[in-house]
């Protein structure tokens, strides 16, 4: 090719100016930290703790899998993210990163995370991780999110799987105890996200996402938040009632469960103005604290258990 024909191309080449921090933002670091935490709880439920390096590599692989899910989600949902105030500063809608680059990054990371977990731990855990990524991207992001107000009810399964993946990484199987942790996160997800949806219903409506408040109304959403919280509170106590968590966990889970139900009642009763907004905001933030405290107690007491054995 001569210089002349080279210059015939009217378009300047597109050279990326994305920084490593933009790729890191694709991983949804806050979601990833919650996934690491819940997976650690599942891993610590195992009867025998794996070698620390294997445990570390497993958690790293699970975190990378969660990050890959976040990147693929941002690739697919870039059009929605661009019109929502909560998400429009993400790397793709902000123009700092090409969607194609996010897709490639997500696919490479997903593949790497599954094979790393398979090699470091076992292939059952790796298959479960692959299923989790598939469920989050294909079932939730591509299918449910834009088509039904039950999107986060069913899609919540993807966010609930990490404790089972963690347990599987340590043991090569799943257990009833890890399934209980799955159930807690699964039932926790709808009231958590519906509280947010009450606060951001305009945002979701603008993006055309059929969240429950936009489809069934705020009143129905408040009722569903209350009902799910009434199921979640006793379910949160189950690890103690079933004997795989201590009495300290029982006290924390009962106290937090009562507080959660009280906040859900407030969301249900306060329907107008600032009081309603405040109640939804409190419910949203406390739901994060609720899940964090329950899993924190499990992590602390199971860690203490393994240290006592050493």
């Amino acid at each position: 090719m001569s210089d002349a024909s080279y210059l015939d191309d009217d378009q300047a080449p597109r050279i990326s100016v994305a920084a490593p921090s933009d790729y890191f933002a694709l991983l949804k670091p806050r979601v990833m930290s919650l996934v690491i935490f819940t997976a650690l709880a599942g891993l610590l439920l195992a009867p025998a703790f794996p070698h620390p390096l294997i445990a570390f590599a497993s958690l790293l692989a699970i975190a990378a899998g969660a990050g890959a899910s976040g990147a693929l989600n941002m690739w697919y949902d870039a059009d929605l993210d661009a019109v929502m105030t909560r998400t429009r500063k993400r790397p793709i809608p902000a123009g700092r990163l090409d969607a194609e680059a996010a897709l490639a990054f997500g696919l490479v990371l997903a593949t790497l995370s599954v094979f790393t977990l398979g090699y470091a731990a076992n292939w059952f855990a790796a298959a479960l991780l692959a299923f989790t990524i598939f469920f989050y991207i294909v079932i939730y992001t591509m299918w449910l999110k834009r088509s039904t107000p039950l999107n986060i009810v069913i899609g919540g399964a993807a966010g609930a799987l990490p404790p089972m993946v963690g347990f599987a990484a340590a043991t090569g199987e799943v257990s009833f105890a890890s399934a209980i942790l799955f159930a807690i996160i699964f039932v926790w997800t709808p009231p958590h996200f519906w509280s947010l949806a009450l606060l951001k219903s305009d945002d979701y409506a603008r993006a055309g996402v059929p969240m429950l408040p936009n489809v069934a109304g705020a009143g129905r959403t408040r009722l569903e938040i209350l009902l799910y919280s009434l199921v979640l509170a006793p379910l949160g106590v189950a690890p103690w009632a079933l004997g795989f968590a201590s009495a300290a966990y029982g006290v924390v889970s009962i106290g937090c469960g009562l507080a959660l139900v009280a906040l859900a009642v407030a969301v249900f009763r306060k329907r107008d103005g600032d009081a309603a907004q405040r109640a939804a905001r409190r419910m949203f933030f406390f739901s994060i604290v609720y899940l964090f405290l329950l899993f924190l107690v499990i992590v602390v007491e199971r860690t203490a258990h393994f240290f006592a054995l050493i």
Binding site: D9, A12, P13, S16, P20
Partner: protein, 69 residues
């Protein structure tokens, strides 16, 4: 020809990369971000190599010393 060369120079001055007779000319921002990405990829691959090496040693356990010499 001269018009196209001027257009390439204008793009470069405006901050976008441009094709010139000498090839693609990157802006300072493009160069520094590319360097940062390369460093990040290099460090990540290096850490992965170390991790896989260490995991392999752990998985072999004591058997790693069993070899016919």
């Amino acid at each position: 020809m001269a018009t196209k060369m001027n257009e390439a120079a204008r793009r470069t001055q405006a901050g976008g990369s441009a094709k010139t007779a000498k090839g693609v000319v990157l802006t300072a921002e493009q160069q520094s971000s590319r360097r940062a990405r390369n460093v990040a990829i290099g460090v990540t691959i290096g850490l992965l190599v170390i991790l896989f090496y260490a995991v392999t040693v752990v998985k072999f356990g004591g058997a790693i010393l069993n070899r016919t010499i």
